[in-house]
Every structure is written in structure tokens, then in C-alpha cells.
């Protein structure tokens, strides 16, 4: 059986004037349906570029992305993105931000009331229905990110793409949101591809961790299975030997074998 999402011998070269810089080189990765895959690497290794290519926002130089055996090369709601800086439209309320996505994606298949219910359902899923009439400027960073997740989920994507979704949040809020994302993944079993630079986050959330080597010409260095049973509980895992071993492996990869060298970038 062919994989659900396949990234096939993908490489990306940015051309600026006469200068070519290869950012990603020969990346091949398969993601199964319902799988939670994290991509971790030092900043500048091109992991965001990889996500943008899967999202269709950036085109690949060679190779391509297949979703259910169909090539994707333009953005679409089947690969909804949760952006790092939430990207909510500030002139719309929380409800209207989600509703915009619902209206656009499912206006032909759902009635007005169904669209309203679906919007509220997704706001409930991220526990944000209480602030539905607020504007993004009136809610906290963590809440904005929740709404961003609700908007992405409301598109009923085949793959949910998370681009360092918790990077701009404080540690406590981040933990809270990670639990929420785990709970949602548990509940609706969606396929998730997440970019992160947080080791704990990667081990806690993922079924597999894809570790990227440093750029330029970044590629997949190692893929690590995380065979921890779900549902996972943050506190219980803190002393779990499997968890600690995986965590150590990732740390080892990032800080010993592929230490971030400023000068090389």
C-alpha cells in the first residue's frame, strides 16, 4: 500500500541573482494516515521551507509531494497550515476568522446552520467558544494560536501542518496547548506534520521524529520512532525510561552529531 503523504526526492534551491543556494537536498519521507510526525532541526536547516513546500506555498526545485497518490503543487485547504504567528485576520472576530475558512471550504456541501454549528464545534474543540466575539487583538497569544488551530481544523484537512505553532508562547501556555493538540489528535485521529525546535515537544507529541541535518543542503539525518502508548501523560512520562531514551537520542543528534555551527550558515 502506498503511503498517505509522500515527500519524494525533494530538493529546493533558492536563486538570488547568480547565486544558487541549495536549502533542502533529496528529502524522502512517507507519512501514514493518522500519524503524528515532527520535524526537528536547528534554525536555518530549511524545515519551515519543507513545510511550506508541502503546504504548496513554495514550489520545490526537484522532486515532489504526493497526497493520496496525487501530486500537490499549490496551496489548498486539504493541507491546512497553523502558522507560527497565528496569522488571524485582525479585523475579524474569532468566530468570523474560523467562519471564513468554513464558508470557503464547505459552502457547497453544508447549509448555513451546519456551517455555524461546524464553526462552533471547532471553537469548542480548542475551548475558545467563550471568546467567539472578541477580536484577535483582545485575546492572549495562546488563545490566538488556539483559534489558528480551530481555523485549520475547520477546513477538515487531510494533513494538518503545524509550523512551530507554540514557538512564540511561554512555557506554561505551550504545555497547555500541547495537551490540547494531543487531545484533539486522540479524538479525531488526523494526520499531523509539525515543525519544531523543542525536543520535549517532539518526543511528547510525535509517533515519529524526523531529525534534519544542518543546512545548507539539509536532508533527513535520522528518523526516530517514539513507541510510547497513547494517551500520553506529561507527568507520567517525565520519568519513563522509553521517553528519556528517545529524548536523549534527539538531544544527541542535535547537539553532538549535528551541532549548530553559526559560521557554517
Amino acid at each position: 500500500m502506498s503511503p498517505y503523504l509522500k515527500i519524494d526526492h525533494l530538493s529546493k534551491t533558492f536563486t538570488r541573482g547568480s547565486q544558487n543556494s541549495e536549502v533542502l537536498s533529496d528529502i524522502t519521507l512517507s507519512i501514514e494516515k493518522g500519524e503524528f510526525v515532527s520535524i526537528i532541526g536547528h534554525s536555518g536547516c530549511g524545515k519551515s521551507t519543507l513545510l511550506n513546500i508541502v503546504a504548496g506555498l513554495v514550489s520545490s526545485t526537484t522532486g515532489g509531494v504526493l497526497l493520496e497518490n496525487r501530486e500537490v503543487n499549490e496551496p489548498g485547504p486539504d493541507r491546512a497550515v497553523v502558522f507560527q504567528n497565528h496569522s488571524l485576520l485582525p479585523w475579524l472576530t474569532v468566530y468570523d476568522n474560523v467562519r471564513l475558512a468554513v464558508d470557503k471550504v464547505s459552502s457547497s456541501v453544508k447549509t448555513r446552520t451546519e456551517r455555524h454549528d461546524w464553526t462552533m464545534h471547532n471553537l469548542n474543540l480548542v475551548q475558545m467558544s467563550h471568546a467567539k466575539d472578541k477580536r484577535p487583538a483582545e485575546i492572549s497569544g495562546g488563545m490566538k494560536q488556539r483559534v489558528g488551530i480551530a481555523r485549520a481544523l475547520a477546513m477538515e484537512p487531510k494533513v494538518l501542518l503545524l509550523d512551530e505553532p507554540f514557538g512564540a508562547l511561554d512555557a506554561l501556555t505551550r504545555a497547555h496547548l500541547q495537551d490540547s493538540v494531543m487531545a484533539i489528535h486522540e479524538r479525531i485521529g488526523n494526520t499531523v506534520m509539525m515543525i519544531t525546535h523543542d525536543v520535549d515537544e517532539a518526543v511528547l507529541l510525535s509517533d515519529r521524529i524526523v531529525m534534519m541535518t544542518n543546512g545548507p543542503c539539509a536532508t533527513i539525518g535520522e528518523v526516530l520512532e517514539v513507541p510510547l502508548p497513547r494517551p500520553r501523560v506529561r507527568l507520567a512520562l517525565a520519568a519513563d525510561p522509553t521517553y528519556l531514551k528517545r529524548r536523549h537520542r534527539v538531544l544527541e543528534f542535535l547537539y553532538e552529531r549535528h551541532r549548530f555551527v553559526e559560521a557554517a550558515a
Binding site: L57, A101, R135, A137, M155
Partner: protein
């Protein structure tokens, strides 16, 4: 129900003697109704409630009022000197009394109140400025969206916008062969440049994030225009609109002085030709007040419309 009323009435009676509690017991005393207490309390509390408001209003109104009186006094002094060429305020008041007190009189086809004339000028501005808004926002969007449109049109617009509005008048008179469309065209050409330029800057500054959202949602061009572009660029667009309305009010007076007909600009020219200096001064005050009001209205509109956009 009787006991609480009695109780509150009792509490009212006591502090009414001591002025310290006067403010707190207003509501109670009104609930009680026509009792002895009512005599003194409401007046006091009303004053204490109204004072901060009065203070705020006074601090806004008194300084400009004092300045206006001072200016009028100096003007009166200078204008009353022998050999003065301009009339003092007192003379203006007596000479142009009908113009000042009644803006909307109609005494004949050419003898109408300044309110009517201003309305005629405003109507021209509305048409010319309305067209400028429509075309300015559309062209601005084009220049902001397309690199080639910007490269092609921006230098031309930057040059054209420096041309004085009145320099366009002979050309438009030649083209339209009528004063009414010519005046409207002058308004249009004056107001359109800041709208184009500010809109294009606003469109160019749409964050990539919003474009990405639009791309993921697969918004089509029309949806993108109304749901992303216009709201996102609204603060910039309104800056252009506000500059535009100010400029068109500047231009209409000059244009009407040259094209004739009716309108506040022509009134000034007509008054000058018949040496009614007092009427001119009154007209200037009208123009200033209307221009000020137009600017305020645009600013108010901008704060209402861009409420959500500006604060992020």
C-alpha cells in the same frame, strides 16, 4: 416592601444634615419620592456630577474662545485705524449681517444664503471626490499588486501629482466645454493622487501571512480583494482619503472662482468684483468651518472603519 423604604428614608434623613453623604443618597431620595429630603439634595449632587463634564468641556472650549476674542480685538483695533484697507469685525457684522445670521435665505436667483452656495460646492466635491475614491482605490490596488503596473505607472503618477489643480482647468475646459464637469474634473484630479499612492502602499504592505491564509483557503481574486486587501490596507487608504478630501476642498474654491456659476468660490470672486469685502470674510469663515468639518468626518469614519485593523 415597606420596611426597606422606611429604612432608606431614615438613612437619608440623617446624612442630609451632614453634607458629606449627600452624593451617595440621591438614588434613595428619588425612590422615596416627595419627602422633605428632596429639597436640598438633588441640586447639590447634580452640580457635583456635572462639574467634571463642564470642566472637560470648558478646558476644550475656553482656550480657543479666548484666542478668537483676542484675534478679533487686534483685528478690530487695526481695522479701525484711519487708512485701514480691510474692514474691522464690527463693520463686517453690520454689512454682512444677513449672510451671517441666515445661511439659507433665498432673495433672488443670484442672491442666496451662503449655506446654499456651500451645498452647491459640496455637491461638486462629492461627485469629483467620489470618482477619485473609486478610481484612486482601483488604480492604487493595481499598482500595489502588480510590479509591472508600478514600474510603468508610478513615475508618471509621481510627476502628474505635482501639477497644480488649477493648471488642469484650461485642459478640462477645452475637453468638456462646460464649467460644471470641468470643476468636477479638477476636484477629481486633485484628490486622486494621494488616494492612489496611499492605497498602493497599503496593498504592498499586506503581510505575507494574510496572503498565505488566502492561498491556503484558495480565495479567488474578488474574495481576496474584499476580504483581505481592503481591510488590511484600510488604514493606509483612509490616510489617502483624508488628504484627498482636504485637497479637493482647497481646489473647489479656486476652480469655482475661475469657472463661475454658483458656489462658494464664485461668490468670493463676485464679491471681490463688487467690492464687498465683508462678504468675502464671511465666506472665508464658512470655507474654513466646512473644511474643518470634512476633515473631522473623514477622521471619524477612519477610526470607525479601521478599528479592528489598526490594533494588532
Amino acid at each position: 416592601m415597606t420596611s426597606p423604604i422606611l429604612k432608606s428614608a431614615a438613612t437619608v434623613h440623617k446624612p442630609s444634615a451632614t453634607a458629606a453623604f449627600a452624593g451617595g443618597s440621591v438614588a434613595v431620595s428619588s425612590a422615596v419620592g416627595g419627602s422633605v429630603v428632596k429639597l436640598k439634595l438633588p441640586g447639590r449632587s447634580f452640580a457635583s456630577r456635572i462639574m467634571p463634564v463642564l470642566n472637560a468641556v470648558a478646558s476644550r472650549i475656553v482656550p480657543p474662545l479666548v484666542m478668537i476674542l483676542a484675534i478679533l480685538a487686534v483685528w478690530q483695533f487695526l481695522g479701525s485705524k484711519p487708512g485701514a484697507t480691510l474692514p474691522p469685525p464690527s463693520k463686517i457684522w453690520t454689512e454682512a449681517y444677513d449672510l451671517i445670521v441666515d445661511p439659507f435665505f433665498v432673495a433672488g436667483p443670484q442672491d442666496i444664503g451662503l449655506g446654499w452656495r456651500v451645498l452647491i460646492s459640496l455637491q461638486r466635491v462629492a461627485i469629483g471626490y467620489g470618482l477619485a475614491c473609486l478610481i484612486g482605490i482601483m488604480l492604487g490596488t493595481l499598482i500595489g499588486q502588480s510590479v509591472w503596473a508600478m514600474r510603468g505607472l508610478d513615475p508618471i503618477f509621481q510627476m502628474l501629482r505635482t501639477i497644480s489643480p488649477l493648471a488642469w482647468l484650461p485642459i478640462s475646459l477645452a475637453a468638456f466645454r462646460d464649467s460644471q464637469p470641468s470643476a468636477i474634473f479638477v476636484i477629481f484630479i486633485t484628490a486622486v493622487w494621494p488616494i492612489i499612492i496611499n492605497t498602493s502602499v497599503g496593498i504592498r504592505n499586506i503581510p505575507q501571512d494574510y496572503r498565505n491564509v488566502a492561498a491556503v483557503l484558495r480565495l479567488n481574486h474578488v474574495e481576496f480583494f474584499f476580504k483581505i486587501m481592503i481591510p488590511s490596507a484600510a488604514p493606509y487608504i483612509f490616510t489617502g482619503l483624508r488628504i484627498g478630501i482636504g485637497l479637493s476642498w482647497l481646489a473647489i474654491v479656486a476652480a469655482e472662482m475661475l469657472t463661475g456659476g454658483v458656489g462658494i468660490g464664485f461668490f468670493i470672486w463676485d464679491a471681490w468684483n463688487s467690492s464687498r469685502l465683508s462678504d468675502i470674510v464671511v465666506a472665508l469663515v464658512y470655507i474654513g468651518l466646512i473644511g474643518f468639518a470634512l476633515d473631522r468626518i473623514m477622521a471619524l469614519l477612519a477610526t470607525i472603519v479601521t478599528r479592528g485593523t489598526a490594533s494588532n
